[in-house]
């Protein structure tokens, strides 16, 4: 199970990579493992406003639909359209080609509420 040091993590198992004031978002290695083989992703629309902790995306795996939450508030400025034809990228490369969307953050201070790698690893290791 990977927990890259340069990312921030939500307790709902999303990761955030901050790039020039924007937040690139995906689901964690832990989450993709729990979901199993992803067969479909419904991404948010580019231009949509999202609120921290609100649902903005859905993932289907093995007849199970799971909601994905925005880890920070802002506007979706980019989505990973490649997942439409290759949703398995979420399983194969959750921190790379399996990214979901990019948010132009409206309140970057919300990043402070997210976990660092060590804290997230401890969180998912709790019994």
């Amino acid at each position: 199970m990977e927990f890259p040091q340069d990312l921030r993590y939500s307790r709902e198992h999303e990761w955030v990579r901050v790039e020039d004031g924007r937040a690139r978002v995906g689901i964690t290695d832990y989450a993709q493992d729990a979901l199993g083989d992803v067969v479909f992703v419904q991404l948010p629309e580019a231009g949509a406003d999202v609120a921290a902790a609100a649902t903005c995306c859905e993932v289907e795996s093995t007849k199970s639909v799971s909601e994905v939450y925005a880890p920070v508030s802002g506007t979706v400025v980019e989505v990973n359209d490649a997942l439409e034809d290759a949703p398995e990228q979420i399983n194969e490369d959750p921190y790379g080609d399996g990214w979901l969307f990019v948010i132009e953050m409206s309140n970057p201070a919300e990043l402070d509420a997210l976990l660092d790698a060590a804290a997230y690893e401890a969180f998912v290791s709790e019994p």
Partner: protein, 243 residues
């Protein structure tokens, strides 16, 4: 992981909801559990044939004209999977808080609940087990027995699907009790009559009903067996709610 404790038991076997109403009732239960209510098992039947589609299944999988002509309501499930014809089945819906850690994985949850369903079906004399075959993924749910499904031999008897939302899980599924005069092959879009015939043959070969197994098929009796299976396997104590 433990499911042990007090659960709500909701008997809607004689329910009169529309197909959309059935889905709304399941979602209401999910929201209640997400808000802190205890887990629940709801059992229900369908007062008229209805075709449920998976959350993201394409609309054009369905032959709407055929559904209208045959009086079959089409409803979108909040859960995954493919199309399923209701009316000859007993449907169960289970809602609970998602356990932490590996116990909360999709696969593990399907397995734990399958054990309860298997135990219930065993009381009817049905030797069901969890399906692991990949099979072809066509538009009809019952044409492939996947990891979430129960089979008898190599034929599918019970299909299930999940929604995970706000830390809670809804899993619902259908136990095939008896066949209806129509099947999914009559209701799903097919390129031609040969494709429709092939789908019907596949459905017949890959599925089995309780009636064909020669065991009780009345929803009340099947439901009682499932209730017992859940209690026995998951150490559940029931609290009934009148709906």
């Amino acid at each position: 992981m433990t499911f042990a404790g007090e659960w709500l038991l909701i008997d809607d076997v004689d329910g009169t909801r529309s197909a959309a109403g059935q889905m709304a009732a399941d979602l209401t239960l999910l929201d209640e559990v997400a808000g802190g209510a205890p887990p629940a098992l709801r059992l229900y039947t369908w007062h008229a044939p209805a075709l449920s589609l998976g959350r993201f299944q394409p609309d054009d999988d369905v032959d709407r004209a055929a559904c209208d002509r045959l009086g079959v309501e089409v409803v979108r499930r909040p859960t995954g999977g493919r199309a399923l014809l209701h009316g000859g089945d007993l449907t169960y819906a289970v809602v609970f808080r998602r356990p932490r850690g590996a116990a909360g994985s999709v696969d593990m949850l399907f397995r734990r609940l399958a054990a309860a369903l298997v135990a219930g079906l065993a009381q009817l004399g049905v030797p069901a087990c969890l399906g692991r075959g990949a099979g072809d993924v066509g538009p009809a749910c019952f044409s492939a027995a996947r990891g979430a499904d129960l089979r008898v031999g190599d034929r599918k008897l019970c299909g299930s699907a999940q929604l995970q939302r706000e830390g809670a899980v809804l899993q619902h599924g259908s136990v095939l009790c008896r066949r209806l005069p129509v099947d999914e092959a009559d209701l799903l879009a097919c390129t031609d009559d040969e494709a429709r015939r092939s789908m019907r043959v596949a459905l017949r070969h890959r599925t089995v009903t309780l009636e064909e197994l020669g065991v009780p098929v009345e929803p009340e009796e099947v439901g009682a067996a499932l209730i017992s299976g859940f209690a026995q396997t998951l150490d559940v104590k029931w609290r009934s709610r009148v709906t």
